[in-house]
């Protein structure tokens, strides 16, 4: 490979290449994150188990794993893969554009993200290892180097990594927003935009608002660590022998970090799930051969969830020292988000209702998304009640809640997207047989892993505990009771992780031996399947692109199912079938 071709292939500014690079980055990250979670699960129930090449897992190792697992999964998997990965691969085509608005910036944000991942992982190898303060990095634990191993050099690397990631995500989101606003093709009005695009759009808006607040918080924390300021450090804070001497009454508050962090952190959760909403909505309609039920409601709820998403950060702080009146207010905004979320679920159910869909793997994963989103989402209104949070905060009930949504529903969305767009990316179909195995094993594994966590949480098991056995006092008795159920959870988690090998095998096998895909194998109506936008069919490259209708126009005709892609002009569409289409008022 010559240098030029290396530059063209690796440092490409083509959005397809960048999208695939993002997906590969996310795949690397998800393998790391999953491995760490398995190690944690194993250590939790078999504390004496020795990690090969490492030895016993010490409490600080456990907490370092917690930090890296959370950071890697949330930032480098759940933010990059749906938003930047599929966003780059599919988004431009879905709005009828052949490019992103700023290709060079696009490549730059990918490489910044890659550097951020390397910086994050490098923290493992510095003295003290990775930080032990979790992905939320609450000060003073994160502000004082003496607070624990990993809080010196490791913490600085963590901060640097997240700052780089934040800059990259902001640039990438600006790119997404401008692309959606400016590069839509003829006839692609806002209402005709696929719901996936709406998901990416809202998530990008949230990124633009949220990540810079995180950057500011990181800057302030960095000053506290290295410039002798006290933004988050109260006067006279004594951490492990280090007394924070405040100058002239400088008196910071750790709660300030919580506010800034969660102002970013909660929208971040929606950044991860909103593209999943979009994919699910479109795929359910596609495989049900139906219009999306309540298209406008879907658009409105996407935006509403985004808006409410930035107004409810305080629900992470009910017992963190927040004013109890503020807790009441945040409880109401949190409960309010249940309404648009319920509207989405109702629309999904109504879309598939009596539709006899074709159960392709992508459809199965979309249905799985709905199921897991219901399961994980319904515990939201429980945790939104401050009085119940007084008991459930930071227990495994919370872990179960956000893992069902973030780790499982969001990942199901990613799987659905992968199975669905694989033919577009590679020109080959993924194996449906392996896909079905993968789906059922994953669904069973997901519920077996995360449903029992609700129970251990209700029994009082706290998060971030390096071990449950061998703890003194009454707490030891209480936690030891929970070991058997935790052992079951660990078995389930191992099962769940093993099931993912089926997926990897399916990808590898299908890349080489999968059936050759037709031009539009799913009878899709959205533009990414337009022959002229197809990344693998460059023949029709010059053809003008225009959109004539909303996506997901399907009908049953006497001759079978028909579909009207967005790009087919009405003059070409069979006028006789038109009458049969779902044109009822919403």
């Amino acid at each position: 490979m010559t240098l030029t071709s290396l530059r063209r292939r690796v440092f490409s500014t083509d959005h397809h290449v960048i999208g695939v690079e993002y997906l590969l980055l996310a795949l690397t990250a998800v393998v790391i994150g999953t491995t760490l979670s398995l190690l944690m699960r194993i250590h939790l129930v078999w504390p004496d188990w020795q990690l090969p090449l490492h030895g016993p897992i010490l409490p600080e190792d456990y907490l370092a794993m917690v930090t890296i697992h959370g950071t890697v999964m949330l930032f480098f998997v759940l933010t990059t893969a749906p938003q930047a990965g599929f966003g780059n691969l599919i988004l431009p085509a879905q709005i009828g554009s052949r490019r992103m608005a700023f290709p060079v910036l696009n490549a730059m944000s990918f490489w910044l993200t890659a550097v951020a991942l390397v910086v994050l992982l490098s923290s493992t190898f510095v003295p003290g290892g990775s930080p032990i303060s979790g992905w939320t990095a609450y000060p003073p634990l994160s502000a004082v180097a003496s607070a624990g191993p990993g809080q010196a050099m490791g913490m600085d690397l963590w901060l640097a990594s997240i700052a780089l990631f934040g800059i990259a995500a902001t640039i990438s989101s600006i790119n997404t927003l401008v692309t959606i606003i400016k590069l839509r093709c003829d006839g692609m009005t806002w209402e005709r935009m696929p719901l996936t695009v709406w998901g990416w759009f809202t998530a990008a808006l949230l990124s633009v608002i949220a990540f810079s607040v995180l950057l500011a918080a990181i800057l302030l924390l960095f000053c506290d660590r290295h410039a002798g300021t006290s933004f988050f450090l109260p006067a006279g804070d004594l951490v492990n022998g280090t007394l924070h001497v405040a100058h002239k009454g400088a008196n910071g508050s750790p709660l300030l970090w919580l506010h800034l962090f969660w102002f970013f952190g909660h929208p971040e959760v929606y950044i991860a799930i909103l593209p999943g909403f979009g994919v699910t909505s479109m795929l359910l309609a596609n495989f049900s051969f139906r219009r999306v039920f309540g298209y406008r409601i879907m658009i409105a709820t996407t935006l509403l969830i985004g808006l409410l998403g930035i107004l409810l950060w305080g629900h992470h702080m009910f017992v963190a020292g927040l004013n109890p009146f503020a807790a009441s207010a945040f409880s109401v905004t949190t409960m309010a988000i249940a309404v648009p979320a319920s509207a989405k679920v109702l629309s999904w159910i109504a879309t598939t209702w009596r539709s006899r869909p074709s159960y392709k793997t992508a459809m199965l994963f979309s249905l799985g998304f709905v199921s897991l989103f219901i399961a994980g989402g319904l515990t939201g209104p429980i945790l939104a009640q401050p009085i119940l949070d007084e008991y459930l905060h930071n227990t495994f009930f919370v872990v179960a809640h956000f893992h069902l949504i973030m780790a499982m529903a969001a990942v199901f969305g990613l799987y659905a997207a992968t199975y669905y767009w694989f033919p577009l990316m590679t020109g080959r179909m993924m194996s449906e047989r392996l896909g079905r195995w993968h789906f059922w094993l994953t669904l069973v594994g997901a519920y077996a892993t995360f449903l029992p966590m609700h129970l251990t949480g209700l029994a009082g098991e706290p998060r971030h505990y390096a071990q449950l056995a061998g703890i003194p006092n009454a707490a030891g008795v209480m936690l030891a009771r929970l070991v058997p159920l935790n052992r079951f959870i660990t078995y389930s988690a191992l099962f769940l992780a093993t099931a993912q090998l089926v997926f990897l095998w399916n990808v590898v096998r299908s890349l080489r031996r999968g059936a050759v895909a037709t031009e539009n194998p799913w009878m899709a109506t959205t533009l990414e399947w337009h022959p002229a936008l197809h990344p693998r069919h460059s023949a029709a490259m010059g053809e003008p692109i225009a959109v004539h209708r909303q996506p997901c126009q399907y009908a049953a005709t006497p001759s079978g199912e028909t579909f009207l892609p967005q790009w087919v002009p009405d003059t070409l569409a069979d006028t006789t079938t038109e009458a049969a289409f779902d044109t009822k008022p919403e």
Partner: protein, 245 residues
């Protein structure tokens, strides 16, 4: 161990506080509602998938808005109930007769301080903290109030009397949590946060740390012993004497 006994072990801990039963009722009510909604949603979803294909004349009102209004009303009821409970426990402070105890979180231990006969907590200064010399909180001997302060590593409380906990932290954020008392409050350095509750059952309960605070987070705990008032008084008197000496 079978899965049944494992499940049996994972149940709500004993409820031993005055505000706990109402909280438990709200928790169970919420859990049942959630379980019902989960089942209902799945039945409808799977039922719709199983039924034969049909293009129904669907009205958005019937399918989307009406159920949505019902759900919103349900969530509103839950919210109002929860807010009332929250207001009852958190909006007001403890009564004036409540027992004053100060809780301090330190990496990785909890310390409990009773104000002694003068009813006032003495001043603490971080410069004076010396756990090895028996002064883990940095009590200032120059302050006359601190002379009779009793510092304990377990929380001893009389049953049936309201307690006013003043929660502090010396170093990093800790999470003060007593599952059996349905109590949780972070200890934030630089702040003193008050919560109050009334233990209703004697016994020994676990006090945990529920906010990751460093490598010893998992073993940062203490015992809460709820005893009869007589037992409590004699315990406090004995500790008092030891301090005066």
């Amino acid at each position: 161990m079978s899965i049944v006994s494992a499940l049996h072990a994972a149940r709500l801990p004993v409820d031993a506080s005055a505000h706990g039963p109402a909280l438990d009722r709200q928790l169970l009510l919420s859990l049942w509602i959630v379980l019902a909604l989960f089942t209902l949603a799945h039945v409808i979803l799977l039922g719709g998938l199983a039924a034969r294909r049909h293009h129904p004349q669907k009205s958005v009102w019937q399918i989307e808005y009406l159920p949505l209004v019902a759900l919103a009303a349900l969530f509103a009821v839950l919210t109002i109930r929860a807010e009332r409970l929250w207001a009852a426990t958190r909006y007001t402070g403890a009564s004036l007769t409540a027992l004053q105890v100060e809780v301090t979180g330190v990496q990785f231990a909890w310390y409990f301080r009773y104000p002694g006969v003068d009813g006032t907590f003495g001043r603490v200064r971080p410069e004076l903290v010396a756990p090895g010399e028996g002064n883990p909180l940095g009590l200032d001997p120059a302050d006359s109030h601190s002379a009779d302060d009793v510092v304990s590593s377990q929380l001893m409380l009389p049953v049936g009397r309201e307690v006013d906990l003043a929660i502090r932290s010396q170093d990093v954020i800790h999470g003060f949590s007593v599952p059996e008392m349905r109590l949780k409050q972070n200890a934030v350095p630089g702040e003193t946060i008050h919560i109050h509750f009334t233990p209703t059952k004697t016994g020994t309960y676990a006090i945990l740390c529920t906010q990751v605070c460093g490598l010893g987070h998992y073993r940062m705990n203490a015992n809460l012993r709820v005893v009869t008032p007589e037992e409590f008084d004699s315990w406090l008197a004995a500790r008092e004497k030891a301090v005066q000496r």
